[in-house]
Symmetry: C2
Subunit: 192 residues, 2 copies
Amino acid sequence: MIQLTYDTEVEVGLISINHAILGLLSHKPMTGYDLKKLIQESSFLYWSGNNNQIYKALLELLNAGFVTNEVLHQDSSPSKKIYTVTSAGLDELRKWVLTPPEPPEFKKTFLIQLAWADLLNPDELNALLAGYEQEVRTQLLLLKGQAGSDHYVNEGNAKGITLWKLIHSNLISTYNNELTWLAELRHELGLT
Amino acid sequence: MIQLTYDTEVEVGLISINHAILGLLSHKPMTGYDLKKLIQESSFLYWSGNNNQIYKALLELLNAGFVTNEVLHQDSSPSKKIYTVTSAGLDELRKWVLTPPEPPEFKKTFLIQLAWADLLNPDELNALLAGYEQEVRTQLLLLKGQAGSDHYVNEGNAKGITLWKLIHSNLISTYNNELTWLAELRHELGLT
DNA sequence: GGTGTCATGTAAACAGTTACATGATTTT
DNA sequence: AAAATCATGTAACTGTTTACATGACACC
């Protein structure tokens, strides 16, 4: 059987973590380690930010000519590679931002549990709902706690800061929507 | 290097698609082919419903003793394996429904595009927003179109039907929330 | 003396998607 | 004549996570 592999040299359709990294680097040159922390802390960059993804993405961006790197040797610390976006990289970023958006995707395992909650008695159902509410509230607190941390990356760019605040408000409203739905659901099911 | 593999015989923590399949089978014995169609059409069972997942899951459920199957030979059609939940399977399902819920997960690639939309001029930004609105509206129409198809699986169980309607309303409200957020965003950015 | 930060990278496993393969029958 | 439905399964690949590995320094 003939193996059909894709062209690895000329990347056409990069996947989005590469673009997210390109975007972060466009604000400020950084190391993979810096990117890792930013992605892990970010609420809307939904990847885990593990090494494998980031160092692989940086290699791909480098091979595609979208970034360059400069090695900094430091004593008493491992040397670091500081990545900077090239003008080709900026073009690519702009091009990607203009691509037709995809619909949002939701993974709500809780809804699947709820689908078979007719197996439970009222107390158990109540506990299940309370558990979900708890989780959602925790996410909301986390979001509000790191309110600044996301858009402080965006220093000095007023337009950018406004956008990042709007992104933040999107996430907040999404979680709040779960809470109001939960209240309606309790009402509908006649639970106290 | 020593290979650390997990125990494949006694499954402890099955992943959720297995439980979803267990749940579907608890309503009615079915073939893998039937399950595939149900999952593909369902709005809240978020898997693609490809063969690989389903037939693998059915094998695992079978090995765990949560389902049994009966082979039906038919002429003028391939033979089918009809899977039925065992009482151990029902126990497992109930146990899983009671496990502490996880928070919902969102993948909104659009938000990442928006994060770097300061690279765009107003017309381009407008087009981007319109594209997202279009996608969300399409999802809403799809949802409303299949309004019945999801909970018709749940024949004859009043409690179950109510729950499935509530699940449906959760998804509707989630998409609607995106639309109201979009309106606020346009207002905030002073767009017509 | 153990744990955490800085900084890079690799290995192995798990999860998920697309596409392939078969073969009879029905529909367009 | 081509495409879709029924029905099972496999192969190959992509994507993602967890854990491993190194080594100096700082902190408790």
